[in-house]
Symmetry: C2
Subunit: 402 residues, 2 copies
């Protein structure tokens, strides 16, 4: 039996090289970028007008001019016009390129437009404060060839917008690993079946599939019965096709718990078996030399949940190439006593306050009570070297809701 931190470190040390896939911009959000994105030109690419109004030469204003004849209009999307008389002006629209021979924009609110003998004049009401006022200067945000988005970035809508701007209609992202979720346990029947009194329907594999889908990893789901030679055969087949296997059930000390034995016969090297935690203690983890990484989770639904969110989710994120997620923390609201020298994953509901997140324990009937999880938002990770956990103390929070 090894401590939780040691189990976590050994899992994170298992690397998988994942290939690059090219996806359309539309499909790229939530995926991990596998190419650097550079500015193809300056940001903004031209002196960009930021207010509707008039463009003048600042020099002319300084020289005493306060009424400017309007020569014409510079619309957004039109090539730059040229101001022909230095003491005149051009109307300009937000987003337009600043006309040549002008350097300052005064917004409509600060001028009065006068019509006189068929001509338009702009009379200045509020003095411009400086040259380049209301102009977003070319290259002021980024210069052409600047690195905008480094490899390994988890693509949010902000990166999608920037990628569009530099002309990337598709992006190189990490291709998700091929994952098989395999439940075992002869008490399990299909969702569409009516179970006999001693049977229950499969649920862990759907939970795992849904959780991975939220990480953009689409996994295949299988069920195998507790027959040793059949398990050997079927798992060997899966080893050829999948890079990651997540098994559920069959890892405890029961008479039909063949999984660790079968995996070792198949050449999967055991990295650990049993972690000093509750729930999820019988967790088995290993790696086949030229084959898949294998997570074999206890079959109890709450254990499966804890092992996924504490270990597998973060490992998947790491092999996809993303930076670690935020380490959320929350204050315990009520005293908890837990005697065993195990890390305790306490189901909690969280509330957000100005002084941080508060985590309220959710009563749950042991690791088989996953209906109890419906009232929870995640788990508080309580360390093994403590028995009493006081209200107000802060612990890592592992959430499964958004």
């Amino acid at each position: 039996m090894i401590p939780v931190d040691e189990a976590f470190a050994r899992i994170m040390a298992q690397k998988i090289e994942l290939p690059v896939a090219e996806v359309s911009l539309e499909e790229a959000v939530g995926k991990i970028l596998r190419e650097p994105i550079y500015a193809d030109r300056d940001f903004p690419p031209y002196h960009r007008v930021t207010m509707d109004g008039i463009a003048i030469r600042y020099e002319s204003y300084l020289a005493g001019e306060d009424t400017f004849r309007v020569e014409g209009m510079q619309l957004a999307g039109a090539p730059a016009q040229t101001l022909t008389h230095k003491d005149e002006c051009l109307e300009v629209m937000t987003g337009a390129i600043l006309p040549k021979n002008t350097d300052t924009v005064i917004r409509y609110e600060d001028v009065s437009i006068i019509e006189r003998r068929g001509k338009r004049y702009a009379h200045i009401l509020a003095a411009p404060k400086m040259r380049l006022q209301n102009v977003h200067q070319q290259g002021s945000d980024r210069k052409a060839t600047d690195l905008l988005i480094p490899e390994g970035t988890l693509l949010s809508p902000a990166e999608i917008a920037v990628a569009a701007t530099v002309g990337k209609a598709s992006l190189k992202v990490t291709q998700a690993p091929r994952v098989a979720i395999i439940s075992t346990g002869d008490e399990l029947v299909k969702v569409t079946q009516t179970p006999l009194p001693h049977q229950i329907r499969k649920s862990n594999s759907y939970m795992l599939q849904a959780a991975m889908r939220e990480q953009n990893v689409l996994a295949d789901v299988f069920h195998l019965i507790d027959d040793k030679s059949l398990l050997l055969d079927e798992l060997q087949q899966k080893f050829k096709k999948y890079q990651v296997l997540v098994l559920s059930g069959g890892v405890s000390k029961g008479k039909a718990d063949f999984i660790p034995e079968v995996l070792q016969e198949l050449g999967v090297e055991q990295v650990f078996h049993e972690v000093a935690q509750r729930p999820g203690k019988p967790f088995w983890f290993g790696k086949q030399a030229a084959g898949p990484v294998v997570f074999a989770l206890p079959g109890n639904p709450v254990s499966t949940f804890v092992c996924y969110y504490k270990y597998i989710r973060l490992w998947l994120r790491a092999i996809l190439g993303a930076a670690p997620a935020w380490n959320l923390q929350a204050h315990l609201t009520t005293e908890i006593t837990f005697n065993p020298k195990l890390t305790y994953f306490l189901p909690v509901k969280v509330f957000i306050s100005a002084t941080g997140w508060r985590a309220q324990p959710v009563p749950i009937g042991g690791s088989g009570d996953f209906a109890g999880l419906l009232a929870a938002d995640g788990f508080l990770e309580l360390p093994p070297d403590q028995i009493k956990f006081s209200p107000g103390d802060t612990f890592p929070f592992i959430g499964f809701r958004s």
Copy 2:
């Protein structure tokens, strides 16, 4: 011009009835449940063994028996066996149904198994503490017909697992609205085009599409040029097909800003135009009597971002039928001064600490600098009735990363 809270309230007051769609369990995660889910039988459905060991009658132990002959084995997934002699026992596996005539499980760690003349005996080393020890009692978590998941729940992997258990291979969820994202602005060219010096590539519409995709709303994207009669025609077409229109650009006071005018000509009733906020002040919002809800956002990328995350995201969540999201809050790390009587959406990067989230302002070159957003995680919402914002003070945090 109306305050932010008023704009938010007016938006949230616009309801759309969305139909129900039936999706497979696999596709249901992240969607909103539109049927109540009940327990089809007790949870657990039988007295369920929670430890590998032996099952006895507690009465026999109390009567002084401490060594029990093993009659056989109860595996998980097998129909309940019956203990024939009260003073004997059955081996039992985790997940199995408790055998008839037994009521207490003693784990292997607490017994010693002895073979004598071809028979197996279990000698008790640690006394059982109570009847029903190591038994997850039938119906102790939930009773048959109990409501497990109410309508309106945002489906996390926990709900998916519970739905599988009660035999739901598919679930009724809210069908996403039909959304069109329409950019305008003659300075905009396609992502695949090389822009002329006065042009830029479209990016807002991709940003909006990506952000909605993260909410399971797949929107169609269009671009229209700044021509009034063309806008009238094209928008009328879109009104027939879509329930929600999100326009980007053309809502300021510029000469080519036809959008509010065109929308009103098309019978869209203006709910508001201009919100007391920066960025995003020219935001226009309206509703056509028998037609779509229309969000017309300013074309500046940062404004578009703020308007989406502050208003549209939460409105979409509400019309889909979900409970409001968590109201995140963060402490400002450095002093900020902002004079105008406007709500200021300050771009920030967040850090998580034991005393809550800390929000560090990200330098950004105005509402056109969306490359500046790459360093940010979201916005801090600073109220309009204040000029100085002190370090340590707490404000609502609107995030766009996970």
